[in-house]
Symmetry: C2
Subunit: 206 residues, 2 copies
DNA sequence: GCAATTCCGTACTATATAGTATCATTTTAT
DNA sequence: ATAAAATGATACTATATAGTACGGAATTGC
């Protein structure tokens, strides 16, 4: 790769990083191209030489954030591990991830723009939560077939577990409340795991 | 009330209705005051004689929608009824309500504006979901004390039930996906009730 | 009937911001 | 060294829209 192309890639990445920050913090309407250029230390002409419109820039930022989101969560499930710790580990990672300020901001952005840009929501779901759901379902299906979980639909199991992890804290965070806004105490991954096994565990082994 | 005041009230209500529709469908940034005035069949001057700014109008619309949301859901829980049908009825009403296009639109609006207008999110939660949660918790506490449910924290029970009702379908709807976007089949209230009793039911009676 | 409001319609101002044009300066390729 | 490409600074255009001003018409109170 020539030095020109290399620099071009770096510049593009820098633009995306700065713009993402603005979009996450100020939303789509609240972010101005001039502000992005200023925050970048660059000029508007450069901006338009990389992205042909504000919509373009926004789409590229979302794209990048989705990748980051998915990548961090996909690596969580280890089908080889013992069942109960695996479930608990999944809950812990998943809950930590969806509560990160970055994740909340991304989610807010997508929900808020889902009328203006409905495609973004679909893409996000299919590459993010959809992938997690599919992986978890496959994992649980294997456990059912191995007789370590009740013989009930794995997809339902996955969605129940994810719903419990999302819980109410996610809603509160999306609406901008403090995570422990009274009278709430977020449930521990251990507790969620216990409930999950009460629902779907087989009698003998755990 | 004089006829003047009466007409003034009607006009105000008409403005709120029209503006709400625009805000719900187009979002805050996507709604223009001129469009509201036009859709109203009125003029901009009148608009500003009722609300001193776009922000004011927006706040009033949200206020109204919150009331409608809460009112419809609060009447659901009947502490006197038999336990299992009561739970199932709650699930049915709650799920139907949160999936209404109106509720989705309101939720989107609040989440999308939770950076610009964080107060709105808090108010909504405290008057809407917060009230539901409190009522359900009180109801469940009574059942626990009557020995018809396991002796576990009623608040947790309530949040588990609500989480299961929200489930994944709510997320999909918020992101603008079809409610049955593959591979999803929304769970029935009956099924959720079954799971709930598997978690918290006492052995003998149901 | 008459006076006071209220409303509509329209034209207007002020402002913010997406996007363009220009030119000097720096960086890279040959 | 020199040409080509990219960058930065600045000024600019075009447009959308929040909010204002005002005159005439309708509605209401007395």
């Amino acid at each position: 790769m020539s030095k020109r192309e290399e620099r071009r890639g770096e510049r593009r990445a820098a633009i995306l990083e700065t713009a993402s920050q603005f979009f996450m913090e100020q939303g789509f309407a609240g972010t101005t191209m001039s502000a992005v250029a200023a925050g970048l230390g660059g000029s508007k002409g450069t901006l338009w030489s990389y992205f042909s419109s504000k919509e373009d820039l926004f789409a590229a930022c979302i794209e990048g954030k989705i990748e980051a989101f998915r990548a961090e969560l996909v690596s969580v499930l280890d089908p080889g591990a013992p069942l109960r710790p695996a479930i608990e580990g999944f809950c812990r990672s998943f809950m930590a991830k969806i509560r990160e300020p970055n994740s909340i901001a991304l989610y807010r952005l997508l929900v808020g723009q889902s009328m203006r840009a409905p495609e973004a929501g679909r893409i996000f779901f299919e590459r993010g939560p959809g992938v997690i759901e599919a992986l978890l379902t496959a994992f649980l299906r294997g456990q059912v077939e191995a007789g370590r979980l009740r013989d009930e639909p794995p997809l339902e199991m996955a969605q129940v577990l994810i719903s419990l992890c999302n819980g109410i804290s996610h809603q509160r965070l999306l609406l901008g409340l403090a995570p422990d806004h009274a009278p709430y105490k977020p449930p521990a991954p251990k507790r969620i795991t216990e409930l999950f096994f009460r629902l779907y565990g087989v009698a003998e082994a755990t």
